[in-house]
Structures are given as structure tokens and as C-alpha cells.
């Protein structure tokens, strides 16, 4: 039994090495095929990286959907704090910060550059403000709207402001890109199957004589097909690695200018390259598509080659 298994394994190793050798013996055409496969694989990967990076780059504020509750200027701070306290008991709120008119003025004086001009004012014109941070499970448009009307209903409140529309839009755009990614991956995956299938078909036609002889001496369809399946797997694997290399070097080239750009926005954000998980997915995808293309092609074309002595 163990002998049988060993020889079964040995035959696979043999077929694998034979396929590898065959690809290595025609490096130029192998490379051309690999490039086509890599380009088809790198596009969805690039899109994936773009979406991931866009999400990360904006992550700091995309999640910060805040409500600003402005009180009427005649509302005293004690009242504002009392209202904040009762609001904290409400569900759907993660945090409420009370920003007193004095604190707001001090901050404004410090950061706006109008410090001297503000000294002219006899009274503080700013209202007390509540910064309301919704709980993460209450970020949907409906619950935000519920929060807004809850605060707006207080007679002491002047205005409730939600700066969430662009965030919603941005997330919607990312969702569109994500769908595009799936569609692109499906279309280009079919392309990879077709490219590998066609390459294998040509290879089979080239080796017609050898296949006939192999069948004459009793080679089964499975035996004849095996090296072609390995060739397909190797094409997929090579294409995937090449795609990964292309994506990684593109990220490498973009990293410095993107970091510079981020710094102008006061962000310390840096580009994220393909992760180990991306690599595993890419290789698995390439190998499966390569195998599938080779299997479809070999099954179809090997059947038509029957020995005619």
C-alpha cells in the first residue's frame, strides 16, 4: 500500500517537474503568458488595495459622525449640563461632551488667529454646545435622524447639525468600488481561464504525437492530462506571484508621494500594501483558475486525440 502511494506521489512529482521543465525551456512564451495572467489578476488586487487604502485614509473621520447641538445663547451652562446628563441615559449615544461658551471662545481665540479682534467684544457671542457621539450601532441614517429630532425637540436648543452626508456618500462610493471589484474579478478570472485554456490547447496540439504514443502504450486520459493540469497550475501560480510583485512595487513607488500628500493634510497616513492574506487569496485564485482552464481545455482536446496507427 505504502509502495503504491509512494509511486503515485512520485508520478505526480514527475509530472510536476516535467511541466516545470517544459515551461522553463520556452521562457519567452511562458513569460508572455504569465504577464497576461498577472495583468488580469493585478487589476482586482489593485482595486482592492485602493478601496482598503481609501477606507484607512479616511477612517479617522469616516467613523466620526458627530452631532453638534447648539443651545440658544441665553441658556445657562448648568441647564446645558443637566440636559446632557439626561441625554446620556438615552440609548444610541456613546459619548456627550459639553463645550461651554467660555471654553469654545478660548479655543477659538487660540486657534483662529483672531485673538486680538475678539478682545473687542464685551460679551461672549458663542452658545454652549454638546458634541454628541452616536454609538457605533446607531450610525444608520434613521437612528441619526432620531437622535437629531430628539435634541431638536428641546426648547433650549437652537440648531442640531449633522455633518454626515458626505460620509454617507463616501461610504456609498466605496461600496460601488467594492462591487466593481467583484465584477472585475469575475470577468478577469474568466479571462485567466480562457488564456490558460488556450495556452494549454496549443501545447496539446504541439505534443499530439507524444500523446498518441502515450495512449498506444496504455496511458490513460488521466495520465496524459496530468502534466497539462500541472502546467495550468504553474501558469496560475506564476501569474499570481507576478501580480503580487507588480502590486507591491506599485505601492512602493506611490508610498513616498502619498505620504507627502497626507502630511499636507496633517495626517501621518501611509499606504498599505498587499497583505499576506491578499497573497494567499491571489495564489489560491491563480492556482484554481489555472487548474480550471487547463482541465477544461485538456478534457476537451485530449479526447479528440486518439491514436491512429
Amino acid at each position: 500500500m505504502s509502495l503504491g502511494l509512494t509511486s503515485y506521489g512520485a508520478r505526480h512529482v514527475q509530472a510536476f517537474l516535467a511541466s516545470l521543465g517544459r515551461l522553463a525551456r520556452s521562457p519567452f512564451s511562458t513569460f508572455l503568458t504569465l504577464i497576461v495572467i498577472a495583468l488580469a489578476l493585478v487589476l482586482p488586487l489593485g482595486l482592492e488595495l485602493f478601496v482598503t487604502n481609501a477606507r484607512l485614509a479616511t477612517g479617522g473621520f469616516a467613523n466620526a459622525i458627530d452631532l453638534s447641538v447648539y443651545f440658544k445663547t441665553d441658556v445657562p451652562l448648568a441647564k446645558a449640563e443637566q440636559l446632557a446628563k439626561s441625554a446620556r441615559a438615552r440609548a444610541g449615544i456613546a459619548q456627550i461632551d459639553v463645550i461651554s461658551a467660555d471654553a469654545a471662545l478660548a479655543e477659538f481665540r487660540a486657534y483662529s488667529g483672531f485673538g486680538a479682534a475678539l478682545g473687542v467684544l464685551n460679551a461672549n457671542p458663542l452658545p454652549h454646545v454638546l458634541h454628541v457621539h452616536p454609538a457605533s450601532d446607531a450610525e444608520s441614517a434613521a437612528s441619526l435622524e432620531a437622535l437629531r429630532s430628539y435634541f431638536a425637540a428641546w426648547p433650549e436648543v437652537d440648531v442640531v447639525q449633522i455633518d454626515a452626508q458626505w460620509v454617507t456618500r463616501f461610504n456609498a462610493i466605496l461600496e460601488v468600488l467594492r462591487r466593481l471589484l467583484v465584477i472585475a474579478a469575475a470577468i478577469l478570472g474568466a479571462g485567466v481561464v480562457a488564456v490558460i485554456g488556450n495556452t494549454i490547447r496549443l501545447e496539446i496540439l504541439n505534443r499530439r504525437g507524444e500523446i498518441e504514443v502515450t495512449k498506444i502504450v496504455g496511458g490513460s486520459n488521466g495520465f496524459v492530462r496530468r502534466p497539462f493540469l500541472y502546467a495550468g497550475i504553474l501558469y496560475g501560480l506564476g501569474g499570481a506571484l507576478l501580480a503580487w510583485g507588480i502590486a507591491a512595487s506599485a505601492i512602493g513607488m506611490l508610498a513616498a508621494p502619498v505620504a507627502t500628500l497626507a502630511r499636507t493634510y496633517g495626517s501621518r497616513y501611509t499606504l498599505v500594501g498587499p497583505t499576506a492574506q491578499d497573497l494567499v487569496l491571489l495564489i489560491a485564485g491563480g492556482v484554481i483558475l489555472g487548474w480550471l482552464g487547463a482541465w477544461l481545455s485538456a478534457t476537451r482536446h485530449l479526447r479528440s486525440i486518439e491514436p491512429r496507427a
Binding site: A10, V213, V217, S220, A309
Partner: protein, 230 residues
């Protein structure tokens, strides 16, 4: 070992390769198929090796009716038959060793065993030491012997040869036939198609004569003959 019962083969182009042929080859026998080219010798061999199937009648090889053999069983069936071709059908870009090893490789023979058996087969045909040569570096006679080594390497019980001496000079032809005779002496059933009647007469072995797809003379199986004349 081989029984043809009123077997006919009509090719898709309408040519009748074999008509109502009945013949029988016993186990361990060495038989010649003779006749002019186009007489049906190759067709008989193709029907034996299941490279073709009869359009009518039955062909039984090694107790198996070739008509009822499922495609997935054909490879195992062919592994029990060694075939020698006039044009050798060697893989020209592979060394002699790989060519001879092919039937063992497809059968899943362990590598050590392959090495031993290939050398033994090459020794039998007098080509030991030529393992690494490419077929085209060898003479025609040597190429033919590589083909024979490949046919016998897996020790099949049946060996068929289509004009194995067609491209060889008379001395080499005799040598090849002697080689076959030696295989027969160790129990292999051998069917050789040839138009070289002198060589056949010299060896004094049974001859099945084909003419225009018909089996000639007294070799017809009595039972089949009876049915045919009824």
C-alpha cells in the same frame, strides 16, 4: 489468445479494410499476417490493439470482447499488448531510456523497477549503453530495436508488429525476426504483419494470408467457415 469472428471494418471514407474475416491465434503462438499492402494486415493489427473497432463481427483478445470494452478500460487493455510499428513511433526529443520506459511509467511502475526493466529490455535488443542517446542519433535498425524494447519492456503476453522489417536490410530483418522468435520461446504470443514472404517461409511459421480484406486459404476457423458457407 486472439479470435476474429466474421469481423469487418469499413473506414469512414468507405474503404473496406477487412471483410468477414475469421481467424484465430493460439496462446504462445507466433503467426505472420501476409498479403500485399492494402490487403488488411494493418487493419487486423489495429483491431487487435483496439486502435479501431470492428464495424461488424467480433474481435476477442485475451478473452475480452473488444466491442464491449468501456473506454476507461482501454488503457489497461493496451498495457497487455506490445506494439511495434514500421515507423517506430519513437519520441524523437526524448532519449532512448525515456522512450523504452514510457509503458512502465504510464502503468505506474516504481522508479527503481523501471530502471532495472528498461536496462533488461535494452540488453535483450542489444542496445545496452545507448540509454542517453536520442533516437535520431541511432541507425534505422537501432531505432527499430528501441521500438521493440519499448514493446516488450512491460512483458506483455501479446506482441504485435506492423512491418517491423519494412525499412531494414535483409540481414537486419532476419535479426529482428530472430529476436521475436526468442520472445515467443518464453511464452509471448506474437503476430507480425509483413509482406516479406521469403523471410516467413524461411522461419517456417504459420502464415495467415490476407487479400483485399479477406482471409485466404485453410486458416479459417472451421466453425466460422461452416457458418460462412451456410
Amino acid at each position: 489468445m486472439i479470435v476474429f469472428d466474421r469481423a469487418s471494418k469499413r473506414y469512414p471514407n468507405g474503404r473496406e479494410g477487412l471483410s468477414n474475416a475469421s481467424l484465430r491465434v493460439e496462446e504462445g503462438e507466433m503467426v505472420f499476417l501476409t498479403g500485399r499492402s492494402g490487403a488488411g494486415k494493418s487493419t487486423v493489427l489495429k483491431l487487435i490493439a483496439l486502435l479501431e473497432r470492428p464495424t461488424r463481427g467480433t474481435v476477442v483478445v485475451g478473452g475480452k470482447n473488444t466491442a464491449s470494452l468501456a473506454p476507461r478500460h482501454i488503457p489497461a487493455f493496451r498495457r497487455r499488448i506490445g506494439i511495434v510499428f514500421q515507423d517506430h513511433k519513437l519520441l524523437t526529443e526524448r532519449p532512448v531510456f525515456d522512450n523504452v520506459a514510457l509503458p512502465l511509467v504510464v502503468a505506474g511502475t516504481p522508479l527503481k523497477e523501471i530502471d532495472k526493466r528498461v536496462r533488461a529490455a535494452l540488453d535483450q535488443v542489444g542496445l545496452l549503453g545507448k540509454e542517453r542517446a536520442l533516437p535520431l542519433e541511432l541507425s534505422v535498425g537501432e531505432q527499430q530495436r528501441v521500438g521493440i524494447a519499448r514493446a516488450v519492456v512491460s512483458k506483455p503476453p501479446l506482441l504485435i508488429a506492423d512491418e517491423p522489417t519494412g525499412n531494414l536490410d535483409p540481414d537486419l530483418a532476419v535479426e529482428v525476426m530472430r529476436l521475436f522468435k526468442r520472445f515467443q520461446e518464453v511464452g509471448v504470443t506474437i503476430v507480425v504483419a509483413t509482406h516479406d514472404v521469403h523471410l516467413v517461409r524461411e522461419l517456417g511459421l504459420r502464415e495467415i494470408v490476407l487479400d483485399h480484406g479477406h482471409v485466404q486459404g485453410a486458416d479459417i476457423d472451421p466453425l466460422a467457415g461452416m457458418i460462412a458457407t451456410r
